[in-house]
Subunit: 389 residues, 2 copies
């Protein structure tokens, strides 16, 4: 893995990330292929949209199709026929957000499958081994994401547990099988974040995930934390904000030096009939689009915009046609791709602040950050059910 | 419209059907694009699969997006961006099968929308006018499909009503706006069929639909009726069996001289996880395919088979991914395309009977004619809701 910062503007960086034959530029947005497909798309569709690095979810792939199938296919790239780079999460986040947690122990998490209710155990060692089986390029250490609003004691406990798990994961990591990034927790506590970074840097991880943010806390506080924290992260390693995907939040994070992003945001809202445009979000099922023969965006170069009208896509959604979420996903992912490319170009030309101002002028007409309710969810699981004790 | 029989073998015919710039060969299978999309596919996908003539349903398009939208887009081809030929049905069949019928009158059918319960009226004149608005190449007259098992009196009544409606439709048909085919009813009563044909031929329709068959009656009786009837239809006009789509039934009908077929069969069973292969039907969700790294068919030239394994498609269906019905639809439609092409080639080489024997040797291992029932429909509708989660 080669990671090289090639351009800077204040804390903002442009970098080249190269693994094997494939090179990408950061800041980068990675679409999420949860169950070995970016929903509605084949691997070739995603490649044709310009993407070379996407994410898959360990938790989902572990439960379905399962380790034995992935082994038989020698990894998920061959399984889904993806020629690009893959990053997998550890599964820790989904264990917390999608499962009945039975127990968070010092050596891992016991949980119930959301599919058939069967009981499973994720240890920090197993999740690394499993990601090696996935045969991905970048993998993440197992962590516990402390919900927003828990006590400082508990926050500290989960942060240190995540540090310990990162180290334990690294111990079993086999050389030559992808790159293991550590996840930094610590909530909004800057000292805890620094402590976590310091501890993890002793192990010299090749990159870091910034976890436990954008989970329900006020975004202004997140920005402040990022502002003070990210610039102190190692200059020569990728910084990956896990689970962030709207253009405005991405710009906030890019400004303080974050390199990598993933989120289901653009693909999920697409299936939910919402399109990203220069003028913010466009809810295509509104009656005003019924007769509209213009494309979603006049100057968009995506397959959907080059071939179909708003009126047709409006109809497809109304008629509950499977083609509808597909055409919407294609547009939103191409929108995000072009947005990131324009953003990078503006940095290279040292015109980033002008780019942001210009972008926001129209985009903010129809955009609000969406409230993430993950925090509440996890909070319920951990506190009301007392399973963590 | 040019229709020319270019090759014969007993009662079997190869013909060229040319409308505008586009020429197709019959016997032809037409995929169904019910709501202005062949489910899961864009117009370009269908074109790339080799098809140049597809069907749309007047009933569905009338209710959604509605006449005003279709008018605004100057027809359904422009609306769905389809460069090929289009055939529309009259809506009569869906009025009977999908709606609460309020009244069948001499001048048309009063029915309730399956979408919002609103009351509508289809007259034989209106359905022709509506199909002109759809701006299709081939349209069908309004008919009443007499259910299998009704009294001879009733059968006669509906058959003559359909004759009358065909004539009334023709009276309002505008020249230069597509070609209006008449639907011949008559159930299994050969005399009634002849009578209908005789009456309709007085109006010199450019082609004929054979309606009211394959609706639950024993297939042997259908074959016998076809055997005696089709050879007496005008030699120089297309003969279109409405709603037939499995390879075996198609061969039975081709042998007595039918030229055109349409059916949701290959696309519906695809969404229902069933793939068409040389060895008959393959239910991809069976556990035996979980680890299978072979394509659906080794020698298939479709996108799905060239890129993905049975194991991957098995997983996509199990995981309820939207990509699953799409990949399955692509395969099944390409299977049907190749099947029809091979069938035509065998006729041209006067080797049809050898072709059928060879085809059936493997195909019949996993094939039985299916009766279309409403259970399947409901299953489909329920399942589609999952795509929007």
């Amino acid at each position: 893995m080669v990671f090289e910062v090639i351009n800077k503007l204040d804390n903002i960086r442009i970098s080249k990330l190269k693994i094997g034959d494939i090179e990408v530029e950061t800041p980068i947005f990675m679409p999420v292929g949860t169950q070995a497909t970016v929903k509605t798309l084949s691997s070739h569709d995603v490649w044709d949209l310009g993407y070379r690095l996407i994410l898959v979810n360990s938790y989902h792939l572990y439960l379905q199709p399962g380790e034995d199938v992935i082994k038989k296919f020698e990894g998920v790239k061959k399984f889904m026929n993806w020629k690009g780079l893959l990053l997998s999460d550890s599964g820790g986040f989904q264990v917390l957000s999608l499962s009945d947690i039975r127990e968070i122990r010092n050596d891992g998490v016991v949980f119930k499958s959301f599919i058939d209710g069967s009981i499973h155990f994720f240890s920090p060692e197993f999740t690394v081994k499993f990601q090696e089986t996935l045969n991905v390029d970048i993998m993440m250490t197992l962590d516990v994401c402390p919900p927003y609003g828990i006590s400082e004691d508990e926050l500290r406990k989960f942060t240190f547990l995540s540090i310990d798990w990162a180290k334990r994961g690294k111990r079993v990591k086999e050389d030559g099988k992808g790159y293991l990034f550590a996840v930094i927790q610590g909530g909004l506590n800057l000292d805890l974040r620094f402590k976590a970074l310091e501890e993890l840097e002793k192990e010299d991880f090749p990159g870091y995930g910034i976890g436990g943010l954008s989970i329900g806390e006020p975004w202004e506080k997140t920005k402040e934390l990022l502002q003070n924290f990210v610039k102190n992260m190692p200059e020569n390693k990728p910084r990956y904000f896990m689970g962030l995907g709207d253009p405005i939040s991405i710009m906030d994070a890019v400004e303080v030096g974050v390199d990598m992003f993933d989120c289901v945001y653009p693909t999920r809202i697409a299936r939910n009939r919402t399109l990203l445009t220069k003028y913010g979000k466009l809810r295509i099922t509104k009656s005003e689009y019924k007769f509209d023969d213009k494309p979603i965006e006049e100057d968009c170069d995506c397959y959907t915009c080059k071939n179909f009208s708003r009126g047709y896509i409006h109809h497809l959604f109304k008629a509950k046609e499977i083609l509808a979420p597909r055409l919407a996903t294609i547009h939103n992912l191409r929108f995000m791709y072009n947005f990131m490319e324009n953003l990078r170009n503006s940095i290279k030309k040292q015109k980033y602040y002008e780019f942001r101002k210009e972008f926001e002028k129209d985009f903010l007409k129809n955009f609000k950050r969406e409230k993430v309710n993950f925090g509440e969810w996890v909070y319920n699981i951990l506190w009301n059910k007392n399973w963590y004790k």
